[in-house]
């Protein structure tokens, strides 16, 4: 359930909700971190649930001593009213057998919050790519029928590629086609449930391998920015300078552990 930080419930009517799927390489979550950190979004509430593994820590987006001691939990909601933007960040994995229940609760909240549309940032195992996918850009999108009406044309003008369908039963010649997002966590369930419930949802994902996925997160937010124009794209075409537009949060330090013991060398 959504619990506001303050005493009153914020109004999300007409907002765009950005959220990650907990997926391979945690790319969606890293991308949401970049968006919240860069836009300096304000925490407005918690999505308190028994479906995610509990975790706490101090403010992951701290910029100074003064704001470094706000406690953060595993699922929080941030907002930027000037851009009609809100973000749900998920910081831990699902408790076993609870992912489906989480999707139901989340969709119920999406409807009750009256947000206009939902964009799910996700990823999929790159080792599942077929030859055609390997030769094309590593980004794909999916739109629910309701979302197709409003943004379908925009994405086609951007030459974005829709996620290909694959055989439901690869061994059977005449088996039907379906969407598969291996390594995508709840992405597919969220998408199919949103289709059936008339929610305006877009999924934007990247094919990735597990490892240092920070570059994948940067790629994904830049790709998303081509559509949403969250920040003004830099005019210079040098990719190394455009990286600096997105601010890495302070919590990304020591992502791969503490320093090494000198005795090792």
């Amino acid at each position: 359930m959504f619990v506001p930080c303050g005493t009153s419930e914020p109004d999300f009517t007409g907002f765009t909700l950005l959220m990650p799927a907990v997926s391979v390489g945690n790319v969606g979550q890293l991308a949401i971190d970049l968006i919240i950190s860069t836009l300096n979004m304000c925490k407005v509430g918690y999505f308190y649930t028994d479906c995610l593994v509990p975790m706490v820590g101090n403010n992951p987006y701290a910029t100074a001593e003064e704001n470094s001691t706000e406690l953060s939990i595993n699922a929080e909601v941030y907002s930027l009213p000037s851009m009609n933007l809100m973000a749900l960040q998920l910081r831990s994995i699902f408790i076993k057998y609870k992912s489906k229940l989480f999707c139901e609760k989340l969709i119920s909240w999406m409807k009750s919050s009256k947000c206009a549309r939902v964009i799910v940032l996700s990823s999929s195992h790159s080792y599942h790519c077929d030859d055609q996918q390997l030769r094309s850009i590593p980004f794909r999108y999916l739109l629910t029928p309701e979302m197709e009406k409003s943004v379908g044309e925009t994405l086609q003008k951007l030459h974005w590629k829709e996620m290909e369908k694959s055989k439901s039963f690869p061994e059977i010649r005449d088996s039907g086609l379906c969407i598969r997002i291996p390594g995508g966590g709840i992405t597919k369930v969220l998408y199919t449930e949103s289709c059936s419930k008339g929610i305006q949802m877009a999924v934007v994902l990247k094919f990735v391998s597990e490892g240092d996925n920070i570059p994948d997160a940067f790629d994904l937010v830049r790709y998303l920015n081509d559509w949403l124009q969250i920040i003004k794209p830099q005019e210079c075409s040098d990719p190394t300078t455009s990286v600096s537009q997105w601010k890495m949060p302070s919590s990304w330090r020591l992502l791969f552990g503490s320093g090494l013991p000198p005795a090792l060398f």
């Binding site: 619990v3 907990v22 997926s23 391979v24 390489g25 945690n26 979550q29 918690y46 308190y48 028994d50 593994v53 509990p54 975790m55 706490v56 820590g57 101090n58 403010n59 992951p60 701290a62 470094s68 001691t69 706000e70 406690l71 939990i73 595993n74 994995i93 699902f94 408790i95 076993k96 057998y97 609870k98 992912s99 489906k100 195992h125 080792y127 439901s168 291996p182 390594g183 995508g184 966590g185 709840i186 597919k188 369930v189 199919t192 391998s209 597990e210 302070s250 919590s251 990304w252 330090r253 020591l254 992502l255 552990g257 503490s258 320093g259 090494l260 013991p261 000198p262 005795a263």
Partner: protein
């Protein structure tokens, strides 16, 4: 499956998603009634119960709705439990009012009679002179799927007024992320995390990002943050996770805090308790010089 540079074909693992999760979401996965029954049996076996000591019966309402509470002090893990046993808990001033019964793959809680420091238990005590002050000694492991159940059965789901919570626990020093090597850290050392509504000063420095806390202490602190309950977690990073006098004594700065004010027992009593712990672990305990 994926191929490595050495020509092996290995199963690809992700830190974020497991294959099991993908099976759960697969609409073509058979909905086996036998699987459902096995799952339901397992859920029943893993249910968390809070028993009232007096009656030995399961409480029907959450513990802190049954008994009003203004101060809740909780120790999670052997060393934190031993600290409260040594410096706070004694039979003259505290009475046992309840315990948690749970089972998981790592522990089964022991009955609360004749407990030894090495048993797995979760017991609630109440101060006789002020029955709104509670102590919880939790040395059993509460699994991920049981942590919210534990919260529900102890705190309930509705926000509490006029309640302050203090949690003590320990973690291995290798869990602490620092630019230096963890070998150079002067363990054991204390760190704290507090909720927005906790106004008092902590007895040590706050836990810096990117460090985080998991398990039952995180579940309790999350509950407190969401429902605006003043709460503080004291976390002792140590290089010895089993019962250790040096780790136990590392919690001592908390004795001066508002949470434990007026609750610390006589010097001779806690010395005797520390000696008892030393006897149990003779030969394996380190003593501070």
């Amino acid at each position: 499956m994926a191929a490595t540079f050495f020509g092996e074909v290995v199963k690809v693992r992700s830190r974020a998603v497991t294959e099991d999760e993908e099976d759960e979401e697969d609409p073509w996965a058979p909905d086996n009634p036998e699987d459902r029954e096995v799952r339901r049996e397992l859920e029943r076996k893993r249910e968390v119960e809070v028993l009232q000591t007096q009656t030995n019966l399961s409480l029907e309402i959450p513990l802190l709705e049954q008994y009003p509470c203004s101060k809740f002090i909780m120790a999670v893990g052997n060393n934190a439990v031993a600290f409260l046993s040594s410096f706070v808990l004694n039979s003259e001033t505290w009475e046992e009012i309840g315990s948690t019964k749970l089972w998981n793959e790592w522990c089964r809680t022991t009955d609360t009679t004749n407990l030894s420091p090495t048993d797995a238990f979760c017991v609630f005590y109440r101060l006789k002179s002020d029955p709104t002050v509670f102590l919880c000694q939790c040395s059993c492991y509460v699994a991920e799927d049981q942590q919210y159940q534990w919260l529900e059965k102890v705190f309930g789901s509705s926000p509490k007024r006029n309640l302050q919570i203090t949690i003590l626990t320990s973690r291995h020093v290798t869990d602490y992320k620092t630019p230096e090597s963890s070998c150079n850290l002067p363990s054991p050392f204390l760190k704290a995390l507090k909720t927005q509504s906790f106004q008092d000063a902590a007895c040590c420095t706050l836990l810096e990002q990117p460090n985080i806390v998991h398990d039952l202490p995180a579940a309790v602190l999350s509950y407190c943050q969401v429902w605006k309950i003043p709460a503080i977690l004291y976390l002792c990073y140590t290089d010895i996770m089993k019962l250790d006098l040096v780790t136990i004594e590392a919690f001592k700065p908390i004795l001066g805090s508002k949470s434990l004010k007026g609750l610390v027992k006589g010097f001779s009593l806690f010395l005797a308790h520390l000696k008892a712990i030393d006897t149990i672990n003779r030969g394996t305990i380190r003593i501070s010089m």
